[in-house]
């Protein structure tokens, strides 16, 4: 049972445009969400996070939006750059637990 879902396995975007990666979750106990980025042959690296008490968190070109009523979060990258091409995983955590639950990942390709 996939508690965190990324329904788009891949996304292609042109350089300079906005990339929007989506993530849905089913467990209402989740209260902290993270995005990780993974290049081939490397481990995932932390990108940005958001607590359930917020609906938006911004860090440079990266913004994460959280819609708790819809159990949906999204990562916006603007402007997209070729170096952003990677697999993006969203992950969720519930209070008191140290186990991250990861989504299946979305492969982003940003073309020049």
């Amino acid at each position: 049972d996939q508690q965190v879902k990324q329904n788009s396995p891949s996304l292609s975007v042109q350089e300079g445009r906005i990339s929007i990666l989506n993530c849905d979750y089913t467990n209402s106990m989740f209260d902290y969400f993270l995005w990780y980025k993974k290049y081939p042959a490397e481990g995932p690296t932390f990108l940005i996070s958001i607590s359930s008490i917020k609906d938006k968190n911004e860090d440079g070109r990266f913004t994460v939006f959280l819609n708790k009523s819809a159990k949906h979060l999204s990562l916006h990258i603007v402007p997209s750059q070729p170096g952003d091409s990677a697999v993006y995983f969203c992950a969720a955590l519930s209070r008191g637990f140290q186990k991250l639950v990861f989504g299946t990942g979305t492969r982003l390709l940003v073309s020049p």
Binding site: V4, Q6, L34, S49, Q98, K99, F102
Partner: protein, 114 residues
Amino acid sequence: DVKVTQSSRYLVKRTGEKVFLECVQDMDHENMFWYRQDPGLGLRLIYFSYDVKMKEKGDIPEGYSVSREKKERFSLILESASTNQTSMYLCASSLGLAVQETQYFGPGTRLLVL
């Protein structure tokens, strides 16, 4: 700068072999984790440890065991490797027990079981 290292980048083993995957972190982190990554399934937690000699089962512990004799080292053991354990294995560590603690990942070990 946090560094998590894994003993091998690529490994080829035969069915039935005992396999050891080693992970070392150099930042005195309390928590260490082992995941496997498979296409279409994302990262799934196998085992984690929040202290030396302590271990907790993750979501898919069957066929695996772990060892944490020292704080910096967390080993994943495949007692008798099977072809369905062919995967990318990722080790991670985090500092403490706060919910917001970021996990830092190693580069991964790609294991092929023939």
